[in-house]
Amino acid sequence: MNKVVDNADTAIRDIGENATLMLGGFGLCGIPENCIAALVKKGVGGLTCISNNAGVDDFGIGLMLKQKQVKKMISSYVGENAEFERQLLSGELEVELIPQGTLATRCLAAGYGMPAVFTPAGVGTEVAEGKEVRRFNDKDYLLEMAFAADFALVKAWKGDTEGNLVYKETARNFNPLMAMAGRITIAEVEELVPAGMLDPDHIHTPGIYVHRIFQGSKYEKRIEQRTVRARN
């Protein structure tokens, strides 16, 4: 069985209308640029996107928002782009905001076969509305359900033909968690190598979780907040 596909178009070929997608990345760091571009090209709509952020106006998920391909965002922090705000206020776009750690842990739960997890995040806030609260050792926790996503789109630094993935620096973020959580997981990598070229002790995502992999191209890797210090 060959997991390697030629490009993003082939990788996302069967993502249809109204699919639920997970997209890795934090801000614009470590986002599946090639898959997003292919989705924009394909023009598929009605998507539910689980992603920590929603990109900016002209990059990341913002590109899909501009084309009104997104029905619902499930995120922890959004609104870095004007189009997002416009669609939200006009009611075109549905948004579910959840704590960042809850987002991460609900992905982990899916990848680890745990149907639900307990977290203290949001206890006593509007996030707790309608959720089961349970006390352990004198502390309250919310019961949060594992995510279910049709596809997970993740970006890694290197990958091999078995689907094993290695991430670079903080571009890791949600990627390994979502990689584990997709019913179908699609990985794009900056460098695709033959099986055996990655150190088996240093693989972050075992290939068992990855269904399709391809070497992406033309990575822009845009910086959202360029901050520098004076050279000494």
């Binding site: 801000g27 960042q100 991460a104 006593g124 973020n173 907040q225």
Partner: protein, 218 residues
């Protein structure tokens, strides 16, 4: 005289201890990093997946794969380590972060905090704030004592949607250092030249000011 934002950060830095792992929020809390005493080993956690956050990079050395939770380009230091977001919030929930410093719009005298949402305004989201306040063993809020309209931000009860309940341990404002106790706010220190009466007047929540209240040493 009221403290500047830098002075608030400086005062909070005095709460640091050698070996502390610290998570600093956006705004004034970020400035605390500039006042870590020389020779003290304090490791900064960035909840997007980094322990051992270094300073901003020199111009031209920005790395798009290396950012902090505020999405700013940063650097690593010797001993830095990267991890995924589940482990990041895992160590936060497990209480491994010794100190969390964050900003707030309101704090109640029970230690409730509101800092993520203003009804009627565009809501960007809570990010990691709800996880941090629900989990951290030691939370210090850095903020102005009053809002731009001059209204107290230290309240008997928060009016804005909550980020977390009964979690704030200490507040450092431009006017005072306040501890949250079972009995309400307890005034620990006052800004140089600022009177207890002024602080009382600008604190809507219950404030206990017993005995001599020393001036803040930054």
């Amino acid at each position: 005289m009221a403290l500047t934002k830098e002075q608030i950060a400086q005062r909070i830095a005095r709460e640091l201890q050698d070996g502390f792992y610290v998570n600093l929020g956006i705004g004034i809390p970020t400035l605390v990093a500039n006042y870590i005493p020389a020779g003290m080993n304090v490791v900064l956690q960035s909840e997007n997946g980094l322990l051992g956050m270094g300073p901003f990079p020199p111009e031209g050395e920005e790395d798009p794969d290396l950012i902090n939770a505020g999405k700013q380009t940063i650097t690593t230091i010797p001993g830095s380590v990267f991890f995924d977001s589940a482990m990041s919030f895992g160590m936060i929930r497990a209480g491994k972060v010794d100190l969390t410093v964050l900003g707030a719009m309101e704090v109640s005298d029970q230690g409730d905090i509101a800092n993520w949402k203003i009804p009627g305004k565009m809501v960007k989201g809570m990010g990691g704030a709800m996880d941090l306040v629900a989990s951290a063993r030691n939370i210090i809020v850095a903020m102005m004592h009053t809002n731009p309209k001059g209204e107290s931000k230290l309240l008997p009860a928060c009016t804005l949607p909550l980020t977390g309940v009964r979690c704030v341990k200490k507040i450092v404002t431009d006017l005072a250092v306040v501890e949250v106790t079972e009995q309400g706010f307890r005034l620990l220190e006052r800004a140089p030249g600022v009177t207890v009466e002024e602080i009382k007047a600008k604190t809507a929540g219950k404030l206990i000011a017993a005995g001599e209240i020393p001036e803040i040493q930054c």
